[in-house]
């Protein structure tokens, strides 16, 4: 189906089902329970997980397949966001033109940076991309303020031009009138599920992105990219010029990043310079490695894990902790609250750092390896092939 073999079709269907049921999966606890703090099924987080999933899927096409480690993909995310917001300001609050321009602009930007950076490999390449991204960030924050609105970030104003929408039109992003921010809520047995238009738009695009990346992984082009990672020397002596392949991968992943940036702006029309900072570029690297570089689903899991941690753990303050341990004697309660407070609230970075270390130390293949191990432990050999390595078996 859809140009996939049976295994991949099954895989895709599972991914689609998982994505569509995110509002349930991320909202496992009843509203009244103490665990409700861990519910993540609200629109913003679900959107972010989907969007950063797209970002990481794209990054993985470059890093997972070719092994080129770019620290500068944040620049494309930023370019995508700025382009989209400018389209909202000038043309229409409909997200389609914004997203299209975001992908085009980031693609052009990636072509330029990639063309220069790919003259080098290894860490020299990484530093070149990092340098480009940092330059973009520093300039966007200061000198380019007329375009980027600097520190504050580019925002929508009621008196923007919006040629297609006309005077006094709504300032909410929409898809042909369907507002991104509108949601339906469903209360059942104390659970509250939110179905948000924006999330489903993101989810639809994320599934398309995933499908595209699946096709790339299984294509001769994907094979060439893996050849680049494996042995560039042999590739050259086999009559293949590695540069156009890596450049194509770089531009594709840059366009994915731009798409993610455009979507971020579509869900929340603000484009800040921070999106271009190296820490954001580093974040997608971390997401990809954490989930499992070179696997199809890993980067999405990594993105989900980090965004969840960032948004949920940072909100657990001592007050909440006291609520949890209320039933304990005072001394013990205070002790436990103190211990937990080191890792939550303002200590959430510590949890993040520890998580990186634990995963890299104990699960060298990232979260996907963890999933693999669990699957093996329980004996059932899943039939979803993750690495893409052995799917090129002859069709029996």
């Amino acid at each position: 189906m859809l140009g996939l073999n049976n295994k991949d079709t099954k895989f895709l269907i599972i991914v689609i089902l998982l994505t569509l049921s995110t509002p349930f999966v991320m909202q496992p606890f009843s509203e009244s329970s103490a665990m409700a703090q861990f519910n993540g099924g609200y629109p913003d987080l679900m959107q972010r997980v989907a969007i950063f999933g797209i970002f990481a899927i794209g990054f993985n096409i470059l890093f997972g397949l070719t092994g080129y480690l770019s620290f500068g993909h944040a620049a494309f995310l930023g370019v995508g966001s700025y382009s989209a917001v400018w389209m909202f300001k000038l043309l229409s609050m409909n997200i389609i033109p914004g997203i299209i321009l975001a992908v085009i602009m980031s693609g052009l930007f990636a072509l330029m940076i990639g063309y220069i950076s790919l003259r080098r490999s290894g860490i020299y390449f990484s530093i070149l991309t990092l340098a480009f991204a940092q330059m973009s960030y520093n300039l966007a924050y200061s000198v380019l303020t007329p375009i980027t609105n600097g520190e504050t970030g580019l925002q929508i104003r009621p008196n923007d031009l919006r040629i297609l929408d006309g005077e006094g039109s709504s300032t909410y992003t929409n898809l042909f009138g369907l507002q991104m921010s509108s949601s339906a809520k469903w209360e059942v047995w104390g659970h509250l599920f939110t179905f948000n238009v924006g999330f489903y738009v993101c989810a639809f695009i994320a599934i398309c992105s995933f499908y595209l990346s699946l096709r790339i992984f299984r294509s001769p082009f994907g094979l060439m990219l893996r050849a680049v990672k494996s042995n560039q020397n042999r590739m050259s002596y086999t009559g293949l010029n590695p540069r156009p392949y890596t450049l194509a991968a770089f531009v594709i992943s840059g366009m994915y990043a731009g798409l993610a940036g455009g979507l971020l702006a579509s869900m929340d029309p603000l484009a800040g310079a921070e999106r271009m900072q190296w820490t954001v570029g580093g974040e997608v690297v971390v997401m990809t490695i954490l989930g499992g570089a070179g696997t199809l689903l890993g980067p999405v899991l990594g993105a989900g894990a980090i965004k969840y941690l960032e948004n949920i753990f940072s909100k657990i303050n001592e007050n909440v902790l006291h609520g949890w341990f209320d039933f304990l004697p005072d001394g013990l309660e205070n002790l436990l609250v103190w211990v937990f407070a080191r890792f939550t609230g303002d200590g959430w970075h510590l949890t993040l750092g520890l998580l990186f270390m634990m995963v890299v130390i104990f699960l060298p293949g990232g979260l996907m390896e963890g999933a693999e191990r669990i699957r093996n432990r329980f004996g059932s050999k899943g039939d979803i092939d993750e690495t893409g390595a052995s799917t090129t078996k002859p069709a029996e």
Partner: protein, 447 residues
Amino acid sequence: MSHNKTTRRGLLKGGAVVGAGLAMPTFFTSQANAYTNAPSGGKVTLGFNVPQTGPYADEGADELRAYELAVEHLNGGGDGGMMNTFSSNALKGNGILGNKVAFVTGDTQTKSDAARASAKSMIEKDGAVMITGGSSSGVAIAVQGLCQEAGVIFMAGLTHSNDTTGKDKKANGFRHFFNGYMSGAALAPVLEKMYGKDRRAYHLTADYTWGWTQQESIQAATEAKGWETVNNVLTPLATTDFSSYVAPVLNSGADILVLNHYGGNMINSLTAAVQFGLRDKVVNGNNFEIVVPLYSRLMAKGAGENVKGIFGSTNWHWSLQDEGSKAFVKSFGTKYGFPPSQAAHTVYCQTLLYADACERAGTHNPCGVGEALEGFKFDGLGNGETEYRAEDHQCFKDVLVVKGKENPTSEFDVLEVVEVTPRAQVEYAPDHPMFAGGELGKCNPGA
């Protein structure tokens, strides 16, 4: 499943349907609430969005302490703090409108993106009806925009840029803190008195929006007093070593250095300026002086001895002796063991003011609350007579001119109040050119 309830919440607004093809899906039933996150179950949730990681984490921590104190006081706990000195008597210590006050916290990371994500989660997940906090203007403006869209009230925390209530002002946003213009208006007369009319100033300015607006304000105010501006050099935000910007100052013929920096930037640039021995020099027959227009106690502490004798302005200081300030310092100090910072004071006041406005309006509806706050005049919150101006939602009150203390008696005692500049002196017209270009818009209840 007869007890299932499908409601439509969120920000769906009628009209403005652009594409003709798609009509509104039918599963959305009519709006159940009159405004976003109307409290239910006797509980009202406030969202405290402060920096918990990054350079301003300590400031954020102090804000959180003040928020917790305010919530305690609103719910009738503690000694009541400034509720006792507040000129409005609407608050009864039984929560807000009889609803017990609960709160959620989040981390802005001092990044507009993260701050908006955090605020959104408070609105979407926790049902916060008001968002407050923050420690930089970029964040404040970004979150203010979000609250306007989402239909909740935003009480800006520490934000000093003219833009917050200037070109980026929003109907749902209110600012208690002072701004760059007020700093200039308060400082200039003191500087003139201390250093004379005929001075030449050299500005080092953080190269982003806040820095620019403050520099513009200070330059205008000092030039009006007869000073000359020799140069204005923009420094990158990421600078940690300011030596190469400080080094040329002496040769420029300037005899005053104005540091339009905040936080780590300010600590480092001031340290570098003092290290270069600028203050020991005599230029044009005048002692060379340094001015830091925006001070905070935490920053002054970070700069250590270097702040001694250096002038600046601040929103509030714990050593003020009015009843409101004394009451606040007492209840904060008793609870936490040290005096509150200006950030703590600002957010404490705002929480009280929000609660008070709800009581007076009789609703949490942002439009009602906004109306109650607009043009509201009050006293007893530590800054003398104060007004929230209706035209731009900027708060007008006395501004403090402070100076680094020469002989501190404790680690908190680093600033001394030189002058309390009366409110009249720092007021400006709502259409002042430095604040032009924005539009308050209409209040948005979100429904």
